[in-house]
Amino acid sequence: MANAISVSAPAGRLRDAAPTVAISALSVAYGSYRALESVSLDIQDGEFVCLLGPSGCGKTTLLNTIAGFVRASAGQVRVDGKAVDGPGADRGMVFQEYALFPWFTIEQNVQYGPKLRGLTKPELKEISDHYLKLVQLEDNKHRYTNQLSGGQRQRVAIARALANKPKILLMDEPFGALDAMTRESLQEELLRIWEAERRTCIFVTHSIGEAVFLADTIVVMQAHPGRIEVVLDNVLPRPRDRTSDAYFNMYREIDGYLRAAHHSTPAAEQQP
């Protein structure tokens, strides 16, 4: 008996380990509009998942349901086995609009979550120094957010979410409002941080290239009603090369799924 137990114990990240996020038969409807229809998905600890699809496919609704901002009409989301019934500090969130608190300094923004948990001043300082250093903004900590560029603001938002040590990091098109150069450098920065911290990361994007560059798992979604089209494993070795053949093959495969299932939305809209 003892033997059997040791054999079945999971080694490393396995598909059949207890999922960190378990989404089962989840539907979200706004009146007669079916934003999400019977979506099921398991996400493992430390996994980087991209939710990818055209506008109206429900990717942001799915993220907001995991975050607890949106209530399920049917089905449920479980995080570490516990059903989600509202927002919580175990799920950190990064928004496309940054959503920083402009009345706080950058340091106060980053310390906000830990401060609510009642940490002491030296502890707060240690945390904010660490995470501001991680996003390379340690020299700006006493400035206000309206003195920063878009890319810098999003780095503060990432530091603020990470400083609260969430189990899961949820990101809603975080780089969507940034220019292409800033976006690529922030993608690289995010991967560097993710590799250092290994938090579960769920990242919403409408960019195929972004998903191929970032994700372990790419969840391709479709609209009307919002649903999962296919879940793809992205096995490209890291660090990934945006100019490699393997990258383009993966890109083409996903583009095919998006085109095949939805002719009316030209996949040319999808930015690499």
């Binding site: 607890g68 919580g88 959503a99 920083l100 608190f101 009345w103 906000y112 206000y144 603020r160």
Partner: protein, 270 residues
């Protein structure tokens, strides 16, 4: 965003016209004041206008010197300033908590809003006779009318502030572990605060307008009294002095409030 005004090209407006430098601004300000004073003096000294109706600036200055040296101006200014500040403080104490309560509770809002919308169009000056009947001709009626005048700008702006709360910022706070109280303290009040401060400034200027009206009608001290008393004695120099003092006092209080606003809202002005 960078503060290199000295080095770079001169700042311009949207049409490309260069903005006035600080120095140019003060030159224009002094020139404009001197020119108006000269025209005023000419009009009165040359006999174009009856000297009784328009005293020369020198006579007004003479009235200033006289009323400063006998202490009467100080008495009037102090009386007016006390009333304004008392009425303004009363308005703040009532309007801000009410605005916050209305902003937080739909039920309180539903009850209070129709009533306030009906009261709001009644100008404070129309309330003066009633206030005198209710509270007498002493301080209380004046403070009441001033508070009534300052109340609505503060309340309306406080309510506007609550409507400006950003849902995404609320969600950001929730995802960082904030409860309802934290969100109220750190997001809702903080977003509404700039509006409350602007409301206070508008309320203060309304308090000033109402003050003079109240003092014109019934009082024995104050700048409004100084003006109306001067009318009975045909002392136009004192009327001008009274008006100039009201202008200067209102200007000074506004500058003070803008200073306070800037230091409270440092994050907004940077």
């Amino acid at each position: 965003m960078k503060a290199d005004a000295g080095a770079g090209p001169r700042p311009t407006d949207a049409l490309g016209t260069p903005l006035l430098t600080r120095r140019q601004k003060s030159v224009f300000a002094v020139a404009s004041l001197l020119l108006s004073l000269t025209l005023w003096w000419l009009a009165s000294a040359s006999g174009w206008v009856d000297k009784v109706l328009l005293p020369s600036p020198l006579e007004v200055f003479g009235a200033l010197v006289a009323s400063v040296s006998d202490g009467s101006l100080f008495k009037h200014v102090l009386a007016s300033l006390t009333r304004v500040l008392e009425g303004f403080a009363l308005a703040l104490i009532v309007a801000i908590p009410l605005g916050v309560a209305m902003g937080v509770s739909r039920i309180i809002y539903g009850f209070a809003d129709p009533l306030l919308e009906l009261l709001r169009p009644i100008p404070p000056i129309a309330v003066i006779p009633l206030a005198i009947l209710w509270f007498g001709i002493d301080e209380l009626s004046k403070v009441f009318i001033i508070a009534y005048g300052a109340f609505f700008p503060i309340l309306v702006n406080t309510l506007a502030g609550f409507r400006e709360v950003d849902r995404v910022q609320v969600r950001a706070a929730q995802a960082l572990g904030a409860n309802r109280f934290h969100i109220f303290r750190d997001v809702v009040l903080r977003s509404a605060f700039p509006f409350i401060v602007v409301g206070a400034r508008l309320g203060m200027s309304m308090a000033f307008i109402v003050l003079v009206a109240a003092e014109l009608i019934a009082s024995s001290a104050g700048l409004g009294f100084l003006i109306s008393d001067a009318r009975y004695n045909f002392r136009t120099d004192q009327m001008f002095l009274g008006m100039a003092c009201i202008g200067a006092l209102g200007f000074a209080l506004n500058v003070l409030l803008i200073r306070i606003e800037r230091s409270l809202l440092k994050w907004k002005t940077l």
